[in-house]
């Protein structure tokens, strides 16, 4: 899939236009530009503290960049709160798992479905009728589309914080999928997983991108170079808040600056158990 870079240059789904963000003296992002085209997997790599997570937070609205614009489908969305951006079709997972710990797997995924439900205070109070029907439909969707896809039917009733880490990561992906987003931000989905789980997760990511059912555009933040190079159409390399380069995996591999930024860190990525 490496060569399959989306060719139509006008098909930009998300554009970061020179965004900057600093926390006091720390410049987390210094004028980053990025164009994510429909249907691609666009990875973001860089050493620890490079600003990758801050960038995801700027895209989904947890942070608002101090300078520059975030454009989604040609519209400026800088000032929109996260829930408004979710409504536009932007979903995400978190580097440090942010599930609703005390709830069951099913309820977590149901919350991902929140925006598709219509129950308000009046119909919700009575349950029978509209609300019950809606809940059953949501349940069917979740069972058929999410739980089957991610192979988590055996844990649907389990409380999330009692699950092993790898499964929590998977549930978080499920929650992010439940509202059928167009753009999916994955912040280190493979971190902390064992080899088998990495393979599963990589397959899910690929399926989400390629299968007709999903056709999702994905921004992938990851330290696992092997997976990044395998899956991505394009790779953006960050270092200390600066974009070193943005290109195809092959271009990135051969770029001397990238090699320099990563020099000595090679072992770090090889230490996965």
């Amino acid at each position: 899939m490496n060569g399959a870079t989306a060719s139509h240059r006008d098909d930009v789904l998300l554009e970061l236009d020179d965004i900057s963000m600093s926390f006091g003296k720390v410049q987390a992002l210094a004028g980053i530009g990025m164009k994510v085209r429909k249907g691609e997997i666009h990875s973001v790599i860089g050493p620890n503290g490079a600003g990758k997570t801050v960038m995801m937070n700027c895209i989904n609205g947890i942070y608002q960049p101090q300078i520059g614009n975030v454009n989604y489908k040609g519209e400026k969305i800088n000032k929109l709160r996260p829930h408004k951006r979710a409504a536009l079709g932007i979903s995400r997972t978190f580097q440090k798992i942010e599930l609703f710990g005390g709830m069951t797997v099913l309820d977590n995924i149901r919350l991902g479905r929140h925006m598709h439900l219509k129950t308000g205070l009046i119909s919700g109070a009575f349950w029978k009728g509209k609300t019950q029907k809606e809940e059953i439909e949501a349940r069917e969707f979740i069972e058929e589309e999410i739980i089957d896809f991610l192979e988590i039917s055996h844990i649907r009733k389990k409380t999330v914080h009692m699950l092993p880490y790898g499964l929590q990561k998977r549930v978080e992906l499920g929650r992010a999928l439940a509202f059928d987003p167009e753009l999916l931000l994955l912040d280190e989905p493979l971190a902390g997983l064992n080899l088998e789980e990495v393979e599963d997760m990589a397959r899910y990511i690929l399926d989400l991108n390629e299968e007709k059912r999903w056709k999702m555009t994905i921004i992938l933040v990851e330290h696992d170079m092997g997976v990044v190079m395998d899956l991505s159409n394009r790779v953006l390399v960050l270092n200390f808040g600066n974009a070193i380069m943005d290109g195809t995996p092959d271009e990135v591999r051969q770029n001397p600056e990238v090699i320099k930024a990563y020099l000595g860190e090679e072992d770090l990525y090889a230490t996965r158990r």
């Binding site: 709160r81 929140h114 919700g124």
Partner: protein, 358 residues
Amino acid sequence: MSTFLPCGVYHETYAQDHAFWQTNFIRGKMILLALVSFIAIPFFLTDYLSEFILLIYWSLGALGVQLLIGYCGQLTLGHAAFLAVGAYASFLLMALPWPRFMLDMGVVYPLVLLISGIIAGIWCVIFGLPSARVKGFYLILTTMAAQFITVDFFIAKYVSQIGGRQQDLTLSSDLVKFGPWTVDTKRDIYYYGLILTILMTFMVLNYLRSKPGRAWVAIRDNDIAAESMGINITLYKLQAFFVSGFIGGVTGAFWGASRNIISVEDFTFGKSLWLVGIILIGGVGSIHGVFYGAAFMVFMIWALQEIVGMVGGTGNIIYYKEIAFGLAICGFLLFEPNGLAYRWWQSKNYFNLWPFSY
């Protein structure tokens, strides 16, 4: 917290799986509970009817607090204010010149009850507005402001002056009519409270298994994740404040109807604290906990009264009461921070999963 079904029980449809009472055993227990509360208590335990009315009152009040604190994670220390708003609103609205036929048909009081709840709900939303910006300690301060602004200032200084100086407001019990049913005896009041409690409890339970309630819990557990999933957290927080205030309002109205007279003394800051104490004892984030906590408190007060009576005390147990309740809360926070409901849940799962209970 999800409960485990007994070994060997499975569901065939999602509707079954979404139902409240999923096994015959639970259905049986509910029928038993209904028999006890609708027949045994009002007809055979008449000596204790006052205590049960108190139990209903405290349960209802704590239900609203539980929703806000236990399910939406918004701390409140001024909930008696919304009980007061509901009580005063209902009394003042009943004093309006309603047409005779409406009074006779018994539609006025139900309508007034509803409107009082809505007014209290809106009042609660006003004091919930800061929750959009502040959390925790600061929110506690604004809800305490609700208490003092509403009760000690607004109601004490202005509202209770309506209809004459230093007069407590009264409501004649023949006005409390639901259709043909006039709520005038103690047993009627008990039934009124019981039905109200059932309605409010089901309302909250229904919310919790649908969109609004899930959003509240999500906000409590992780507001950033909630917002990223498309939940408008400000809107849902305010909805929680509204529902909580609404429940507070009808609770206050019920309290007023049960005594036919209200004064600011009924809605002190102390009462707000007791409401929070009930959910601390019963268990934060549990509907069962509301009832266990309220039962614990009512029973404790009753027992104290009996003891003081037995040893021939002066009958003024107000101080013992406060001290005992304070100690009880401390004890629970130290030894059973999850409350009575958690104990119950543990033992229930033990038996449900038996013989594999570990």
